[in-house]
Amino acid sequence: MGSVNMRWLLLLLIPIFLAGCTGMMDDLNPSGSDKQSAVQSGTVGSHVGQIAPDFTISDTLGTSVTLSSVLTGTAVNGVVLYFTMWCPSCDIHMSSMRSFQIPVFPNVRFYAVDYVSGTVTDARNSELSNGYEGSGFIVLADTVQTVLNLYHGTMGTTIVIDKTGTITMNEDYKDDRLTAALTSLP
């Protein structure tokens, strides 16, 4: 009976051990401490406090969009990049932004970055089938995931960039944090 119990114990411990080996112990014993590392201001990168990497890609209507040009436009306080793969969570986030942020911050440009559709046409079709035509979002067709890789984004990543090109938020969408970041824009 003792050896049987030992086998059971081993069976239970193996996945926990593997989880620890693969760096997943954070979930078994999660930490609430702030581990964000300080960044050197003026450097280009995807972290909060860094200068946002510039890019030029097409929106779903075929218009070329360059981040630096948008930020220097008149009546533009900042830019929001939201990474979407047209999933349930993405729909919740985008619906929330459409209701609570887009109407309140008219001087902010809201871009939904479609990083899964391989063509401008397919990105346009996804925008239409998900009901986001005329929503206040400009949908960008990131057909080879250029912007996704520049910003180390994933589904739901929400990035706020102020008029100077500095990133002020880069995390999963949260309504109150996005509102706070947009309110803080100069």
Binding site: L12, P30, S33, D34, T143, M155, D176
Partner: protein
């Protein structure tokens, strides 16, 4: 995250219901030993194929063109009888994600979230052949808790969503399975209610300002009906099962504040064909869990088909 959302739902019925039938078995998460068995090992392989999703209004929406999203799972389960009435089981999945988009393909694999179960056999179905009086209608009832342990790769481990194999939260469930067999028919009802433990989060793809998160309480219900067909006079049997399942999850909270419309809903139907040997030591099964790709059959959840093949062996 999507992947993780589905691993949870896959552990519902029909495997749950089937586990309550006369011969034990079922998915590892719900492994239930037949009477007089001291232990069981169960190995199954799932293919879960994503096909669109329901939005928060319940409208079915297809995936973007060129998408082919799949998750494969190898589930290793083991059960052990602790006493006449008590038994325990463990399920350990290994997960492969193969997500093809028109723009790129992502492949990843890793261990999934582990599940521990304890069952108490509160009532036995003592008359599976003929009803002579009222007490012969007594069903078998098994109740017990289960604990999901976040051993998988979660959205809080610094990885993109395509790499996720678990949800990142502990969850404690209360489960009950009620079943009644009157050969050749068997019917069962399985109910479950679970609560996630709140946890701190300081990391998503990168480290972020810390916050506390709790997924909403999860409830599930399943009903199933089985027909047992005996092969010749030797006792080998084929069991066919049809099931209907419902899954609900309440809204998530962040720092104690409820996030409206973040809960989910999914209804599914399932079919199982299972073979058991004369002595019932061996069992083989094939399961198909299907969601109807129509408005109203889900909310905030991907629509999928899950195909499972599994084998189990019981120790007397």
């Amino acid at each position: 995250m999507l992947a993780a959302l589905f691993l949870g739902s896959a552990s519902l019925s029909p495997s749950l219901s089937w586990a309550a039938s006369c011969c034990g078995g079922g998915g590892g998460a719900t492994l239930l030993l037949p009477k007089f068995y001291q232990g069981m090992v169960d190995v199954s392989f799932d293919l879960e194929k994503y096909d669109g999703f329901w939005n928060q209004e319940g409208k079915y929406t297809p995936d973007p063109a060129g998408s082919d999203l799949r998750q494969y799972r190898l589930n290793i389960g083991a059960a052990r009888r602790l006493s006449t009435k008590w038994q325990a089981s463990v399920l350990i999945p290994y997960v492969w994600n193969v997500n093809k988009y028109a723009s790129a393909t992502h492949r990843t694999d890793g261990i999934g979230d582990m599940t521990l179960n304890v069952w108490y056999e509160a009532l036995d179905d003592t008359s599976a052949w003929k009803i002579r009086d009222l007490k012969d209608l007594t069903p078998s009832i098994a109740i017990g808790p289960s604990l999901v342990i976040p051993t998988g790769i979660s959205p809080y481990d610094g990885v993109p969503s395509d790499d996720v194999t678990g949800r990142g939260f502990y969850r404690l469930d209360g489960n009950i399975i009620i079943s009644k067999t009157l050969h050749p028919w068997s019917a069962s009802v399985a109910l479950s209610y679970g609560s996630y433990l709140e946890r701190p989060v300081n990391r998503e793809v990168d480290y972020v300002p810390p916050y506390r998160k709790k997924l909403g309480d999860r409830s599930s219900a399943s009903i199933s009906l089985s027909y047992i067909y005996y092969l010749g006079s030797g006792g080998d049997a084929l069991t066919g099962t049809a099931s209907l399942s419902e899954l609900r999850e309440a809204d998530t909270t962040l720092d104690g504040s409820q996030i409206d419309n973040s809960g989910l809903k999914k209804d599914s139907i399932g079919g199982t064909i299972a073979y058991s040997s004369t002595d019932h030591d061996w069992g083989i099964r094939a399961i198909w869990i299907h969601t109807l790709k129509q408005d109203g059959w889900g909310e905030n959840f991907p629509a999928t088909d899950i195909y499972t093949i599994g084998v189990n062996y019981g120790f007397r």
